[in-house]
Assembly symmetry: C2
Amino acid sequence: SINGDRLWDSLMEMAKIGKTAKDGVCRLALTDLDRESRDLFIKWCKAEGCTIRIDKMGNIFARREGRNPELPPVVMGSHLDSQPTGGKYDGVYGVLSGLEVIRTLNEAKYETEAPLEVVCWTNEEGSRFAPAMVASGVFAKVFDLDYGHSRADVDGKTMGEELKRIGYLGDDEATIDAHPMGAYFEAHIEQGPILEDEGKDIGIVTDAQGQRWYEIKFTGVEAHAGPTPMKTRKDALLGASRVVDLVNRIGLDRSPLACATVGMMQIHPNSRNVIPGEVFFTVDFRHPDDAVLADMDKALREGVEKIASDIGLKTELEQIFYYAPVPFDKTCVDAVRNAVEIGGYSAREIVSGAGHDACYLAQVTPTAMIFIPCVDGISHNEIEEVHKHWSDAGGQVLLHAVLAKADE
Amino acid sequence: SINGDRLWDSLMEMAKIGKTAKDGVCRLALTDLDRESRDLFIKWCKAEGCTIRIDKMGNIFARREGRNPELPPVVMGSHLDSQPTGGKYDGVYGVLSGLEVIRTLNEAKYETEAPLEVVCWTNEEGSRFAPAMVASGVFAKVFDLDYGHSRADVDGKTMGEELKRIGYLGDDEATIDAHPMGAYFEAHIEQGPILEDEGKDIGIVTDAQGQRWYEIKFTGVEAHAGPTPMKTRKDALLGASRVVDLVNRIGLDRSPLACATVGMMQIHPNSRNVIPGEVFFTVDFRHPDDAVLADMDKALREGVEKIASDIGLKTELEQIFYYAPVPFDKTCVDAVRNAVEIGGYSAREIVSGAGHDACYLAQVTPTAMIFIPCVDGISHNEIEEVHKHWSDAGGQVLLHAVLAKADE
Ligand SMILES: NC(=O)NCCC(=O)O
Ligand SMILES: NC(=O)NCCC(=O)O
């Protein structure tokens, strides 16, 4: 059995790094705070006798040797970066429950057949650097290394530069070929309301929704809000606002399965008495069915064109991120299902609404995910909360799923 | 006659302070660049033998003595601060054409009966610190000094602190009572398309539109863009976007005289995969008829309430700035009209769409404005442009209008 108190204490300890006033976490990828959290994780892993490897995307692998070092490792993990106003569990839970599995096995002096590893992936959130999960994407050969290193934040700083600056630009090749795996398990909070609503402790994740992310820039004419007649205006914010409404309708029309969001908008010059001349904003579409996702894409492109031509705006629209719905590996999902039975937990099958590093790993190695509920389904919010008995349950299920795979 | 080349050279010299890549000006109120422009203005005034006084709002008065120092001065001026992406003429033209009048009279060794002054008002634009024209508003007793000093920028820095920091917190009382005027004339670019369209060199400004400015904050629930069902969302940006569309309709429905603009919006947390939990934005309404302005206010309040309740948002709405349409002083407007005739310029009467320091001054002293055209009616934009012969004409009209008042 894992030590639920120890796991919980580690979660609380890690949450001090980047703690916000409302008891959440702000630990954006590759900031000094991200470095602090990485340093602490490595310190803990070394205390358990693990060896550490860091790859060229800053992904950290902590290894506990197995009886047969030739076997590819069974890997557990997730990410330590957060949203600007994020919570204490999103990502961190998957990394530290992996560490707890290793601590438990060390304490029990239990040797697995295959080696075990805990991984911490770089920039999963996609908030400072878009897109999300870029480092696991490079690892899974969806993106190449140059693409990964050249992702830039709003100030133009790139991931390559920032990895170097915080001392986490490692030597290992960041690809599955240089680092084969036997299986990958990611424990994570659900980030939605289903498990809690139905009183389940565990979600057995069978699939993940597909996603499409866009960047749109409207250019109009910036002019004085006082003497510029309404009819001659080319107001870029009016255009962007109509797209926000359109995106919402695209989502609602395909409810309850579709999600459609404009989360970010930058307005230029953003002055009270100036008609905005330029607006940059993003769109996030999700659906478990790839065909519906394609249909949402079509509705967006047509709608944006119509809105821009009504107002007389210049449009740049780019899909910057796409992945098809992801089915997880049947044998790994079965390992999770068996682990749930061993623990006697209440559980249900579930589709992930969020993207996870596991979604990319699933393309190159047998993969599954374990969800635990979060209070009111809320995440990406400082008030994100988890009950300790959910955390205990997830760690326990992870332990048994991993043992089944490592000793098979 | 004024020296049009000298006026033009001074405009170009001043435009170097805060020059942007696109040949505009970024010289936000009370920044170091604002200080530089003030220093240069004072240097030029001292070279003409003027005495300088600075009041507690940082307004600068440069005085050329008259034959009768007991008479209240005839004052000319405007502002040196700019929008974030502003032009070379907005405000600056009124200050430097005033200086050119003094240079011309010095050269001609012409002594006026009443003293003359050139004034530079603090923070006219209202971009760094809202509302606009706050320092002339304090001077005209529309606001008290505490209100003026406590206006804060987005970083929370106040006008009082920033005046002190740049060394422009003067000793003089910032009120008309401590500083009576015989008349106030402000030369300015039109900032709209009418004069150029009709081929006129000068606008004889008879009135200014009324204005109402608002601040609105919507609070919803910030949550993950992936697993949060459309139907349970409380998306603050969706609400704000619908208000942008509403504001546009309120303006269009009362076109061509009404203007209605959302120029600024701040989205929280502004992350691509987070449903925005909080949006702060501004509304700017203008109309020459106070009753219509009241009707626009009503439409806004009703519309905002409906939009917020549809989505389930909490609303804070505050009107932070209001003034009724302003009629200018008949005798001052006549002085402008006569000056136009003396110069033989083509001119028309016009209503100001923008707010100006003159709008507040008009409440406490006889006031008029002189407009010159600007290319394509564009201002609050780096490409703001003026033809030199317009600049010459405005300076000449200012000279004769001021002489008429100072020697009457
Ligand atoms: N789990 C999570 O929040 N991932 C970020 C990528 C996404 O928006 O789905
Ligand atoms: N003239 C000018 O741009 N004034 C700023 C205040 C306003 O927006 O009318």
